[in-house]
Symmetry: C2
Subunit: 342 residues, 2 copies
C-alpha cells in the first residue's frame, strides 16, 4: 500500500518535489462525460447526490477515461444543510424552500442534527477510497459559509445576490449569527469527511466577490478563518478556492490554508511568486479554452506549465469544466501535463 | 440660458468646485418607478426604446419625482447595432437572431448604414434637451466594444460568457476585426449623440471582467482606447464605467477619459486618492443597500460623502437601481446629497 503522503497530489499540497505536477478538474465527474449524461437521464441530480452508491459511481466515473491524480466526492454544497433542518431542491441550481430573511429566521434554525450531516457523502467517501487506486488522492469539500448563506438568504442563485447584500447591509448581526452556525457546521463536516478517507478538502467560495473588501473583512473573514483554523487544527489539508473575486485574492492569501486555488481571471504566476513560499497554488486554465478543441487546450496548458513553477502547483481549470467540452480537449490536457517531464 | 458649463454635472466632470456634488442614478428611468411599470404594461421594452417620443417620455419620467442633476437618454446598448445589419430582440436581455461565431460571420457584416444608427435615440436626445431644465445635464451612452461583442458572439447574456471566451481564445483575429468595427461605429454614435445635445457620454463596459489582465491588454485595450481617443478628440466628455472587474480597474484608469465610474466592489476613496488629480470619479453606493429602506440608504450615502472628496465626485449607485427599490430610499439619497452643504 502506498503511503498516502506519496500521492502526487498530497506532495504538491505540501510543496514537496514531485516527478510531475498533479492534475484534477473541477466538475470532472459531470456533464461533459457521455456516461454521466446517460446516468442523469435515469436519475435526477438530487437522486445522484443523495445516494451513496450512485454518488460513488459518479465520483469514480472519470477514472475510466482519464488518469486524474485526485477524485473529488460527488455531492452538492447544499448536501450537509439538512443537519440544520433546511429543505431544498435543484432546478438546476439550489432552490431553498424557506429562505432566511430575518434575525428570527436565523434564531429558528435548530441545533445541528449530526445524523443528517450528509451520511451519504461520508459513505460515498469510504466506498470511493476502497475503489480508487492507491496513488489517487481523494478530496472532500464544502461551500464556504458566505456562499452557503448566499443561497439560504437569496433562496436561489440570482445574479449578484441583491437580497443577500441587502440583508448584509440591514441585518449584519443576523448574518453574523448565520455565518457562525454555518462555519461551525462546515468544520465538523470537513473533519468527518477527512476521517472517512478524504486526504484533503476544498472550500468553495463562489460568491464572496459581490462584497467590497472592507465589508468582506468585517462580515466574512472571522467565520472563514474560524472554519479553516478548526479544520487545520484537526490535521486536514485545506484547498481554498475563490471564484470571481480578484479584489479579495490577497485577503484570501492571508487565511490559514495549504493551497490557494484561483479562477482564470487571476495571474497565477504572480500569485505563486507572492505567496509560493508558504502556499501551493491550484489552477487555472480558462475552461472556455477547452471548447476550442485539443490544439487550443494544449497551447493553454503549455503556457501554464511554462509560467508556473512546478513545485507546489496543482494543475486544474479556473472553474468547473463546461458541459459542452469535447473529450479530446480533456485528453490533450492530461497528455500535456503527464508529458511535461517525460 | 445657463451656460452648459455651469451645469453641476459638467463642472464635476471637469473637477471644478461645485456648491454641492451632482447626483444621478443608473437606470433612474426604470422599473422602480410605478409610472414606468404602468407604461411598460402598455408597451414592450423594444417599443419604448425604438420610439423617439416614448424614449423621451421615459428619459424625463424620473424628473417628476427627483431633482437629479443629469438625465440619461433611454435606449439600449444594442440600439445602434441595426447599422451593422444586426437583428435582435429582448427577453428581457438582448437576444441576437444570428450570433457571430466565426471569421466568416464577422466578414459578412455590412458597411455601417448611418441611417440606421439609432435615429430614434438621436431624436430622443434633441427632444429631451428641449424639455429638461437648463441646469440639468443630458447624457448619451453606448456599450463598450467588448460588451457589445459579448452579446453578439454569445447570442444572449450567459453567466461568464463561455462562448465568447472560447471565441477569443480560438479566433483572436476575427474577434479583433469585430471589435474594430464596433469601436469605430460607437465613436461615430457617441459623437452624433453629443451633436444632438448630450453634454457627456458614458461608455458601459459590463463584461470585461471575464478576462484576465493580459488578455484584456491584448484583446480589448486597443479598441477601447481608439474609441475613447476619437470621442475625446471631438470634444465629448467621457465617463468610463467598469462593472465586475476589480482586477482591471487600474488598466481602465490608464485609458483616456474624464470620469472613472466604478461599481460598489471598488474602493472609490482609494480610486480618487490614486487618480483624482486627473480624473473625476463616479459612484458607488451598493444598489442593494437601498432595498433596506431610507435609513440604510441615508447611512450609506453619508459614509460615501464622508469618504470621498467633493471636488470631482459625481454621486451615483455602483450599478443600476434595482426594480424592487422603495421610492423612499431614492428620496433619502437625493436629500442627503442635496443637504451636504446646506
Amino acid at each position: 500500500m502506498t503511503n498516502p503522503i506519496d500521492r502526487l497530489m498530497l506532495k504538491a499540497i505540501q510543496r514537496e518535489p514531485t516527478p510531475r505536477r498533479p492534475l484534477w478538474i473541477m466538475r470532472q465527474a459531470g456533464r461533459y462525460l457521455p456516461e454521466y449524461r446517460a446516468l442523469r437521464a435515469k436519475h435526477s441530480f438530487k437522486d445522484l447526490a443523495t445516494s451513496a452508491e450512485l454518488a460513488t459511481e459518479v465520483t469514480l466515473m472519470p477514472f475510466e477515461r482519464f488518469a486524474f491524480d485526485a477524485a473529488i466526492v460527488f455531492a452538492d454544497i447544499m448536501s450537509p444543510l439538512p443537519a440544520l433542518g433546511i429543505e431544498f431542491d435543484f432546478a438546476p441550481g439550489p432552490i431553498v424552500a424557506q429562505p432566511i430573511r430575518s434575525a428570527a429566521d436565523v434564531e429558528k434554525l435548530p441545533e445541528p442534527d449530526r445524523d443528517k450531516l450528509a451520511p451519504e457523502v461520508i459513505a460515498a467517501l469510504k466506498m470511493s477510497r476502497m475503489a480508487l487506486s492507491e496513488d489517487t488522492a481523494l478530496l472532500g469539500f464544502c461551500g464556504a459559509p458566505w456562499t452557503l448563506a448566499a443561497y439560504l438568504v437569496e433562496g436561489k442563485g440570482v445574479k449578484d445576490f441583491p437580497t443577500l447584500r441587502a440583508f448584509a447591509a440591514s441585518e449584519p448581526d443576523a448574518l453574523d449569527a448565520l455565518l457562525a452556525k454555518l462555519s461551525a457546521l462546515m468544520a465538523e463536516y470537513l473533519i468527518l469527511q477527512h476521517k472517512a478517507g478524504a486526504d484533503a478538502v476544498q472550500i468553495f467560495d463562489s460568491w464572496a466577490g459581490v462584497l467590497a473588501l472592507p465589508d468582506w473583512e468585517r462580515l466574512i473573514r472571522p467565520h472563514l478563518e474560524s472554519l479553516l483554523s478548526t479544520v487545520g487544527a484537526a490535521g486536514v489539508p485545506r484547498i481554498l478556492f475563490l471564484q470571481n473575486a480578484p479584489h479579495l485574492m490577497d485577503a484570501y492569501a492571508s487565511l490559514p490554508c495549504e493551497v490557494l486555488a484561483c479562477d482564470w481571471r487571476i495571474d497565477i504566476k504572480g500569485l505563486q511568486k507572492q505567496y509560493g513560499d508558504t502556499r501551493a497554488v491550484q489552477g487555472n486554465i480558462d475552461p472556455a479554452v477547452l471548447l476550442g478543441g485539443p490544439e487550443a487546450t494544449r497551447a493553454a496548458a503549455e503556457r501554464l506549465l511554462e509560467a508556473v513553477e512546478p513545485i507546489g502547483h496543482i494543475v486544474n481549470l479556473g472553474h468547473g469544466i463546461l458541459p459542452q467540452t469535447p473529450l479530446e480537449s480533456v485528453e490533450a490536457l492530461v497528455e500535456t501535463v503527464h508529458n511535461e517531464n517525460a
